[in-house]
């Protein structure tokens, strides 16, 4: 009998293959992809041209609003991530991969990596349109790189939460529904209006939720001005959410495959 023993797996190779697969799968979910790419741009245009005139932020409204729109992108991308994870868990895919010695971690990290890659595209799209309609940040190269780091941190946190939701949900629809709150999180924050213009009871939430320090840090980097404790708070929130999600994902994954 011709006995073929598969070579020892390459962890990095597997991760790249899984990320490429996840990108290919999501790029074919045309409807969801289109929404996750265009909705942030449309919302930005809406905010700037419909409401921008009524909101006094001390700068051009487009400049004020761009950091918030960048975070919206991450929220809209989350639903795709949760859907792909949920589909893998409820089809035979995960058993097949594990029987080939591709770890669950490689599969999930592949989806998170793909999510990061999709966000690079949607972020670039938002920035291109923002520049076209008058976004004029004052950041130098160092600030731009740091800002990119902050966005990556936030996207990783959101993507890890999405993976957890994908592991919890039994259906694609459920997974996509659950991520809805993440697309909402930027509204009760300083993303679109200064916090002190929000109703009193929302202010308390807005001041103490993760999106606000992330936005304030981005503003400080892109528009100049002090980030204060916001940078540290943002890192703590994102890091904390990421670590908790990874731990949760491990537990949930092992429970699902038992």
């Amino acid at each position: 009998m011709p006995e073929h023993i598969a070579p020892a797996p390459s962890r990095v190779g597997d991760l790249i293959t899984m990320a490429a697969r996840s990108l290919r799968l999501t790029s074919r979910n045309a409807e969801a992809l289109l929404i996750s790419l265009t909705l942030p741009v449309i919302l930005m245009l809406l905010f700037v041209y419909l409401f921008g005139g009524a909101i006094d932020t001390g700068t051009a409204y487009v400049t004020y609003v761009v950091p918030g729109v960048l975070l919206l992108c991450a929220g809209f991308g989350a639903s795709l991530t949760a859907q792909t994870v949920s589909t893998d868990m409820s089809s035979g895919a995960i058993d097949r991969f594990r029987s080939m010695d591709v770890s669950g971690a490689a599969v999930l990290t592949g989806h998170v990596t793909a999510s990061l890659a999709r966000n690079v595209v949607s972020t670039a799209l938002v920035l291109a349109v923002a520049f076209a309609i008058g976004f004029r940040p004052v950041a130098g190269l160092r600030e731009w790189l740091l800002a990119a780091g902050v966005v990556v941190m936030f996207v990783l946190a959101i993507s890890a939460v999405s993976a957890v939701i994908g592991l919890l949900a039994r259906t694609q629809e459920g997974a996509s529904g659950f991520t809805f709150f993440m697309t909402f999180l930027p509204y009760p924050s300083s993303a679109f209006v200064p916090v002190d213009t929000l109703p009193g009871w929302v202010q308390g939430f807005a001041e103490n939720q993760p999106v606000t320090p992330v936005i304030e840090t981005l503003r400080a980097l892109l528009l100049g001005g002090p980030a204060g404790s916001n940078a540290l708070l943002a890192a703590a929130w994102c890091g904390g959410i990421f670590v908790v999600s990874v731990l949760l994902a491990r537990v949930l994954f092992h429970r699902r495959v038992r």
């Binding site: 009998m1 011709p2 293959t17 290919r24 035979g92 895919a93 594990r98 029987s99």
Partner: protein, 321 residues
């Protein structure tokens, strides 16, 4: 190494909460043979296959596959086996080629070699024409063939097939049987599960009948059929009185009875002479039998013969577990 069994499992037990799914399963599969695990829905077939393919550790018991322990040496086992599970494991949103190239990459092929291997497999499973189409547009039979191809990127020492033809139309089933037979001819050891006696009979050298997590019988198809007697004579009577009289006359020879239908089944070798003499014995006046029919023993018959009760559930389409 060549002396060793492809699969050797001892006393496998598995429970979920207080549901005892496997209650001490022993299996021995010779290298180069085809082994079928036959049982109704819920018998524990998938659980057994998942343990043997290293996906699930048993609560109790040990198993060696391709010479290695499925728990302690699972990486070694994984490099020597392939699994085509009960639920489709190919991506609907990738094309046939993309699915196979991906599997080959995961098995360590370089890009060009992966493409070549994918093309070769698509050709072998008669999917070349559909290679560039998304799997979502494939028929059930094509999808199953692709699923099988995906587990053959490297030719495994042991191939596990969990209900490979459940839900397929008869023509696709025949095509898949042929594909499995071709593999066997190449020397691959196959462990398959099925709800169909006919399928086990067609493909397997040895068959184990699994019921409620226990192996209730094991042997070659011929041995099992001897126990079960493979041809049945169904006799339908004209009225209740003749049904009762025939039941009494046949006694232990009745293998199943459906009083509401006024129908009895008994064992025959299927020859005209035997059927004729049975009918004459039961109904010498030629007035009490309305119809008769001969048929191959079904899984229900096997169960009835082995356990004294019918398989509770009819074979069903796979539901998501």
């Amino acid at each position: 190494m060549t002396e060793e069994l492809a699969v050797a499992a001892h006393g496998l037990e598995k429970s979920y909460g207080n549901v005892h799914v496997l209650r001490g399963v022993d299996l021995h599969v010779e290298r180069g043979s085809v082994f079928a695990l036959l049982g109704p829905n819920g018998a524990g077939k998938t659980t057994t296959v998942r343990i043997l393919s290293t996906l699930l550790p048993p609560d109790v018991g040990t198993a060696r596959v391709a010479g290695y322990d499925v728990v302690r040496e699972r990486t070694k086992v994984r490099r020597r086996i392939s699994l085509t599970g009960q639920y489709a494991a190919v991506d609907e949103d990738q094309t046939g080629t993309e699915n196979l190239v991906m599997m080959a990459r995961l098995r360590g092929f370089r890009r060009a070699a992966a493409r070549a291997r994918a093309a070769e497999l698509l050709e072998r499973f008669d999917l070349t024409e559909a290679a560039g189409r998304r799997v979502g547009t494939y028929s059930g039979g094509m999808r199953r063939r692709l699923d099988l191809a995906a587990s053959l990127v490297t030719e495994p020492a042991v191939l596990f097939l969990d209900e490979p033809t459940t839900g397929l139309d008869p023509r696709s089933r025949l095509a898949l049987w042929q594909a499995i037979k071709d593999l066997v001819a190449r020397g691959v050891t196959v462990v398959l599960t099925t709800q169909y006696l006919e399928e086990a009979d067609e493909l397997a050298d040895r068959i184990a009948v699994l019921d409620h997590g226990t192996i209730v019988a094991e042997g070659t198809a011929a041995e099992l059929k001897q126990k079960v007697a493979d041809t049945r004579l169904d006799i339908t009577f004209v009225d209740r009185a003749s049904f009762r009289a025939a039941s009494a006359k046949l006694g232990d020879a009745v293998v199943s009875a459906e009083p509401e239908e006024l129908r009895l089944a008994t064992v025959t070798d299927g020859s005209a002479a035997h059927v004729r003499s049975l009918l004459d014995d039961i109904d010498p006046s030629r007035t009490t039998i309305a119809h008769f029919r001969t048929r191959t023993a079904s899984l229900d018959d096997v169960f009835l013969a082995l356990t004294g009760r019918p398989a509770q559930e009819r074979p069903k389409e796979p539901a998501h577990a």
